[in-house]
Amino acid sequence: MEKSQIKVITGNAAAAIAAKLARPDVVAAYPITPQTEIIEQISKFHANEEMDCELITVEGENSAMNAVMAASLAGGRVFTATSSWGLAFMYDAVLATAGARAPVVMVNVNRETPGIIAVSSGQQDMISTRDCGWIFLIAEDCQEVLDMVLQAYRLAEDYDIQVPVMVHYDGFYLSYLSEGVDVPFQEDVDKFLAVLKDQPERTKLTPGEKLGCGSHGILGGYLELRHKHVSAMERSKEKFKQIDKEFEDIFGRSYGGLIEEYRMDDADVVLVGSGSMCGTIKTVIDTKRDAGVKVGLLKMRMYRPFPSEAMVKALKGKKAIGVVDRSLCFGFKGGPIYTELKAFETKLNGSKMISFIDGIANTDITTANVGQMIDTTCDLAAGKDVREVTWVSYPEAQEDGGL
């Protein structure tokens, strides 16, 4: 273990350590369950001079995002973290940050959204903000949380990208899960991030420099900036793949870029998932494989931009695909990732698709649930008549003929 050290830490601690290793200039944050431990850890690092940053303990999430957005546009590297209602409370500033192309890196610890009070896991907060113009990444375990935050800085601050990045991971599942994490040494992280210093300087807000940010977009100006933004998001796909490769060169770990394919090569049926459920799915896949079922997993690491090309390439020609969503797409019967993947159905050469809704509000995506999803997807592959949408932990849903 020359390059790192194994520490048994929570996902939240992994995020905080990643933030520390990235040496941000400004951190602003406000506590919210299940993210709180991140800013407690950062406050501790700051108090012990292990972290040389301006720490702004703001009076609400809206200010957290506004502060880091401005600091980012002034030229700083920034970090913040939130969850659920916190993300909702900073929504206007989240939009503004994207529109201003401020390369903010934020961790969002996924949690169900307000209305029905639920201090519990779910990706609904992520889905509720998915079209805000940020790049969305999703981590599976504590190690990936740490690694992904570092990769996020490379992506957000890349001169060709300059789009804010949100790193998502499942609250409660990863936030409080302690497991062994290979914590990189500072010098290696510095090396990994050094590339950002060698590129052209991005436009900065500097006293006396006669530049201003927040100009009105009029005539075609608004369209031009939006098109630039969308183009940068498209470029970010290839860039993220490269970054993941460079990450491997330095740290010896890689994740496959935009998507991770698990036992996909000869798979007939595939589950598409994201986040912490993927670990459980992999375990069940191994068991099913032992029983002769040719099943694989496509794990989404990047959710915005939607990695459609990579997904189509990996899924093309598979007999059946079950998409597991930990959130809802109100107004559509199927889950959000399912409905989006549906747009590429004609490119999949006849693969059939179904939607599974599970893991909402801490309903556990158990090994049994995953087994059921695989069985149902196999039934679909075999030409049996199966429901388009299954609420796995809520069989009562099947009483509703409409769904």
């Binding site: 048994v8 201090v119 599942y173 990863l174 899960l177 302690s178 670990g279 459980t280 995506i365 090994t367």
Partner: protein
Amino acid sequence: MSEVRFHGRGGQGVVTTSKILANAFARTGQFGASFPMFGFERRGAPVTAFGRFSDKPVREKTQIYNPDIIVVLDPSQRNSEAVFQGLLPGGMMLLNDPDNTVTFSNDNLKKLAIIDANKIALEEIGLAIPNTVIVGAFARMSGLLDIEPCCEALEDYFSGKKLAANIVCAKRGFDEVELFDL
């Protein structure tokens, strides 16, 4: 892989017990994952935590429904149904209890370990927080760990005099736990 469920009440260090064990496993080159049952935690309320310990990477992220081992830090919960729920055949139970004569009639329970962890903790650290004693006792009962990595793991959670006292707790837990085959 061993799947372990910890039962106690807020303030006993239930979650920390599970974390220290995961840490100790990592120090032996094995793998451990520890996490609390989801919900509110507050002093005095029942607390459940989980641990998965293995010589291979632990990938599952679900709660544990069928434990191999149950650890009860709060004696008053020893007879609650929740404690034995889902216990697999051949199961083990580690109990913090001043009474080493308690018996259980559960078909799946094959090994019982009892230690008066509160007494040891009071003697060594002056507080009735049994968790580090339990860590040592767990190593002995399960046979999955030596005491040394457990003591080393404590360095991530304590320092100075507290560390020294808690190391003594763990060692006494390892040495003084009583094992019963059922």
